[in-house]
């Protein structure tokens, strides 16, 4: 019988909230990054990964484009760019 409604978190894949982005997305320039991890700390989605300098990136499947990572970056190494103008679209949510 259906239920109880109990979820094992490892089975939860999450919603593909990247589709919510309507205008801008963060672009990780990976030039002046000092690996301070502030972007990672402030991300409401927890979808930024990276440990080493100039190696941080976001998972566009989940990123809603709020832009807080770009605001918090002390090195201005994250830019919010127009969704359309992005030359490389391979990271887009499918």
């Amino acid at each position: 019988m259906f239920g109880p409604l109990i979820v094992k978190p490892e089975k939860s894949k999450g919603d593909k909230t990247g589709s919510w982005r309507i205008k801008v997305r963060p672009k990780y320039l990976q030039k002046n990054c000092i690996a301070c991890k502030m972007c990672l700390l402030v991300c409401p989605e927890n979808c930024i990964i990276g440990k080493e300098k100039n190696a941080f990136s976001t998972d566009y499947n989940f990123c809603k484009g709020c832009g807080l990572c770009a605001v918090v970056c002390p090195k201005a190494d994250i830019e919010m760019v127009e969704e359309e103008s992005l030359e490389d679209k391979k990271g887009m949510a499918k």
Binding site: M1, F2, G3, L5, I6, K8, P9
Partner: protein, 394 residues
């Protein structure tokens, strides 16, 4: 061994033998003696439960909810306004599918405020997803708690159980009771092993939001489980009888001289003791009368009731609660048993009695049998005082 015990004491003794990990309660008359006894047992070191005193019934129910979700056996008790204040937690416990047992010391609902017995409190929570068993006497009050845990924790059920015992009449009444031994209880009720629990080594999310794609199935699943409860209760009753020697038959209803009866009263709880006395008295005079006692009000044993009453010509339903503006709750459900049935009683009359602790005497019961004549009474309140009804507010 039989001993004279107050109903509350007997319940507390049984709960002690069930070894709950967490007990939480908030005082309300007439439930207090049960939790006071348990608190004393914990204070004496006879019982190793965590006893949590809380600031309200809402929190008492929430504490046992949290404890049950963490994988321990739990107990709470309440009454009347306390049950209502728990109301949303009561629905929630069943919805999350958590097993536990709670005593409802049945008491009238305010206003006017009244601490005496009727069954309006638990009856009003009938749709909450709890199994409800109604006890007739102190022995049953104690035994049903034990049975309650066994049914509640069954892996195929996982629903809470409310043991309804009439306030004062049973909670404060002293009767001869056969108290079981720990070894018997342990045999009947093994240590609780949770099917799912909050445990950091295996994280689970409980109490989740269900949108229109899932909500109905979750509710239907509880409804369907009640059908399994109908099948489980007789089996558990048999196990109980094998170990403790007391036979509650199918645990759904009790038939008292119904087989050849022409007039039968249907009722629940302690008033059935009074009805049995009148049945004995009238049977001695050759009158074919009987009693059908509903033990399991949720799940409601429609088929079983149909079998018991289909050949009875006149049925009286005695409710100790009302659905203001409609048929009394038990009456409307008994009536619905016979919808679209070929065999049915000629008369099904509804009687409301004993509200707010008004005594239901032997004479009250005789009157119901007398009134149960060829003409169906839509609904009659027994022992009303007509002189009071004439008074007007000025």
């Amino acid at each position: 061994m039989k001993e004279f015990l107050e109903g509350s004491r007997a319940v507390a003794e049984i709960i002690k033998l069930c070894k709950p990990g967490v007990i939480s309660a908030y005082p309300i008359t007439p439930q207090t003696h049960i939790v006071e006894e348990l608190a004393q047992m914990v204070a004496n070191g006879e019982l190793s439960s965590q006893f949590i005193n809380v600031e309200s019934e809402h929190s008492a129910a929430s504490v046992v909810l949290g404890a049950s979700a963490t994988g321990v056996r739990t107990f709470t008790a309440t009454s009347s306004q306390g049950l209502f204040y728990m109301g949303e937690v009561i629905f929630n416990i069943a919805g999350v599918r958590l097993p536990l047992v709670m005593t409802c010391a049945n008491r009238a609902i305010s206003a006017p405020i009244n601490i005496w017995n009727d069954q309006q409190d638990s009856i009003s929570l009938r749709d909450a997803g709890w199994i409800q068993l109604y006890a007739e006497n102190v022995q049953e009050s104690a035994d049903f708690h034990l049975i309650g845990y066994r049914v509640s924790e069954d892996k195929s059920i996982m629903l809470p159980v409310m043991i309804c015992m009439d306030g004062f009449i049973l909670t404060h009444g002293i009767e001869s009771v056969d108290m079981p031994k720990q070894a018997q209880v342990d045999k009947f009720l093994p240590a609780y092993k949770a099917l799912y629990k909050l445990d950091p080594s295996e994280p689970l999310t409980m109490g989740i939001l269900a949108d229109p794609d899932y909500y109905m199935e979750a509710r239907y699943a509880i409804h369907a489980t009640f059908k399994d409860v109908l099948e489980l209760l007789p089996k558990v009753s048999q196990e109980f009888s094998d170990i403790f020697g007391r036979d509650y038959k199918d645990l759904l209803v009790e038939e008292y001289f119904t087989k050849d009866a022409e007039k039968v009263i249907v009722a629940m709880g302690s008033v059935c003791g009074t009805i049995k006395e009148v049945v004995d008295e009238l049977r001695a005079k050759g009158k074919k009368v009987g009693l059908l006692r509903i033990i399991s009000y949720r799940p409601f044993p429609y088929a079983r009731i149909y079998e018991a009453l289909k050949n009875v010509s006149k049925v009286a339903i005695l409710d100790k609660s009302v659905s203001l503006g409609a048929y009394a709750p038990l009456a409307s459900e008994i009536k619905s048993v016979f919808s679209n049935k070929k065999k049915l009683p000629k008369v099904i009359s509804s009687f409301v009695a004993g509200l707010g602790g008004r005594d239901i005497t032997l004479e009250s019961i005789r009157e119901i049998f007398r009134k149960l004549n060829a003409k169906e009474l839509v609904q009659e309140f027994i022992d009303l005082k007509p002189e009071l009804l004439k008074e007007q507010y000025e």
